[in-house]
Symmetry: C3
Subunit: 311 residues, 3 copies
């Protein structure tokens, strides 16, 4: 199967075959990142713009390194100092970047749907690096890649996602990828943040942590974003930790070969105890490594690369 899409906007609209092409391509690139010389030529002479209207050093650096290792020229464009502050529309910003011959624009934006809107007129390739509470497709892909690599498959696995599901773009992208590839997805957390409506997508919803953990092959903990906490919906940090934090006592409910995942940055002692994050079941740092490979694959494919020619 060949990749034919010009953009990566979400995982909801991808087929299982398309997801698999990305994951297989990422596997080839992962090998390159482990080498002494971490550069291959596919995007040589191409211009990649990191347009981060909402700041994120972690994701920005991962995309930047992914582009650099494919030999692209990368320009960073953050919201703070940008013409968006001078009243320019996002559409005009994008058209200006295209007028500078940008080949690929990586967009992080606080508004859900911003990359879809741009893709309707953009001649550059658009990659969604997180849009509001909607999707964060490369995060969903790297999580799925990590599960597949560690477990040998995705189909048939029980994956539990734990935390603030309602406002999480990471949860949404994971749900789409996992369901399409045949996993069974359980969502768990405080009732205000894990509404029953998610059952309509084909997920199991439970507010009982023990039930959510008992049969899980993978436990994916979402980050508690206490720096921008929604007062009305969210319990106190202490209350969250007491009720849903993953600690040693609750690890007894978790299967000994279940993977512990987290998109990072982790809050040690809040949603996860430090010992578990550093423990043998944790694959948190592997997720970071795989993120780079997945992003190289996405940059490569939207630019027209063939999955069979990764070098």
């Amino acid at each position: 199967m060949t990749w034919t899409r010009r953009h990566l906007l979400d995982l909801q609209s991808l087929t299982a075959e398309e997801l698999t092409v990305i994951l297989d391509t990422a596997r080839s690139f992962k090998a390159i990142n482990g080498r002494s010389i971490k550069r291959v030529p596919p995007l040589r002479g191409k211009t990649v713009v990191n347009l981060f209207v909402e700041p994120s050093t972690r994701t920005r650096i991962s995309f930047e390194l992914a582009a650099v290792r494919l030999s692209a020229d990368v320009v960073n464009f953050s919201a703070e100092a940008s013409s968006l502050k001078k009243g320019e529309t996002l559409r005009d910003t994008i058209r200006n970047l295209e007028a500078l011959n940008a080949d690929i624009i990586i967009l992080r934006h606080s508004a859900s749907g911003a990359p879809h809107y741009l893709a309707r007129f953009a001649s550059a390739h658009i990659i969604n690096a997180g849009d509001g509470a909607h999707e964060h497709p490369t995060q969903g892909l790297l999580d799925t890649f990590t599960i597949r690599e560690r477990k040998g498959r995705v189909a048939g696995l029980n994956v539990t996602i734990l935390g603030d599901i309602l406002y999480s773009r990471v949860a949404r992208s994971n749900i789409w990828a996992l369901l399409k590839l045949g996993a069974k997805v359980t969502l768990c957390g405080p009732p205000t943040l894990v509404p029953k409506v998610f059952e309509q997508f084909g997920c199991r919803v439970t507010w009982n942590l023990e039930e959510a953990l008992r049969d899980a092959d993978v436990v994916n903990l979402l980050r508690i974003q206490h720096e921008r906490q929604r007062v009305t919906m969210f319990p106190s940090l202490g209350e969250y930790t007491a009720l849903f934090g993953l600690n040693q006592a609750r690890m007894k409910w978790v299967k000994p070969d279940a993977l512990i995942m987290h998109p990072g940055p982790i809050n040690r002692g809040v949603e996860i105890e430090g010992e578990i994050a550093d423990g043998p079941q944790s694959v948190i740092l592997e997720q970071v490594t795989n993120g780079l490979a997945v992003r190289m694959a996405v940059l490569f494919l939207v630019n027209g690369g063939k999955a069979t020619e990764t070098e």
Copy 2:
């Protein structure tokens, strides 16, 4: 004719022949930007510093990409985190960059004359990326390039510049380039911002918008900088739009083949209606594309490149 200058400080001191060398060189580079692999080797191993004491993402990125596509190594240096904040003089900052073997320093500064001052002692090549209300030479060049490319010539054309002329470095650089190349320049806007003294440079000054638009082959709209508006000199935004904003009704005064230009970022509905900015007479995005080619030409020429060897 060969280029012999070490710096690009302004357009006022250039001859028509020198302006033409830059425009001709830019034409060669424009072709490179349209290619799949947008890199040529002339500045390989050279160090270019973007020293933006006054922030400007748009111009900074254009210069950064211009340098990268010529294969230079580029370092960005912004005012916010710099040693200028620690009380260092601008002269000492420049000498420190030269001690780091910087070959070309691109300076954006709020003080008129800052690049001229530096050029008196600098061993690096200095490029003025906008100094106070004085000049913004690469903007004047890219505007002139766009006019010449679209109209086939500059000499004899009627060019109207509309807006806050008094405080505009864009207006000044345009005026010098256009007059030297033989265009007739009309300045228009509110009387407080378009003083009669500009007639001494050889421009026509009028406060009558219809008169300014009727015979224009080119209408260049300046940006209303409402984020740093001068309260005492400037009417309200609404008043400016009512009296001088370019709208569909006033487009009837404009010749059907006249070019509509704007240095960006545009304020849709203020100095220009969105439909006109997106309309068939607008060349606003072409200006952005041409800016890159012009900046490549300037970097190439000040570094000692010959106009006949652009690859």
Copy 3:
């Protein structure tokens, strides 16, 4: 002698032989920085991260250019927008960068000992770019390099360091390097900032400026950091200048061939008169140039380069 260390954390733990290997290697790289094409291939395909938790444009750019001229890929990571602000520990930040296959991490941090702590578990090479009031090893190296290049030797020279010794990492790194290489070090400044305890390291301590200057072959002036002045320990700026500022009258106490050094950025008229900074005995800008060569040498050596193969 061959370099065998994986990190550069301080100068206190280096031997005279190791210091000499770095200085000799830097000498080779200095020649490269004077060339027209300032790039050599030793770090091609390597990823270098500039992790500046405490801001410093000057040192960051010097390291960035050093890495770029060795053909490394460089990513800048500043504290302002980073995940450290989201409550991530420094240890987790470093492990995340390693998960992105960072080969070398250059760390500037306000906490003394931060790089030593990281080196205990890091697989990447750690370079200390200044940690609290502890050490700034590449500054100590570049100062020593400058002295050796100008004077032909270090052993036996009288070097006076003048200013806020107590809180200065620059002073500490200089003291270690100079003593190990056989220089005699005198410390001078206000008694509150130059305690007698430094005599235990083998330095001479004096609060008498004339005595400190009379026999000096090198006078190294520390920067008065008036932007973060410690009110209780420090006299007023005017009082410091009156008592310890280097001016023309006091230059009569200085030997005519003594070197005047300063780590920059200088405060003209505070710790040094402008005419002296620009005068024939000043090597302040040479220090900047040598800093680049020293940093190239350090990056090259920690990455496993041999001192005899600098190209």
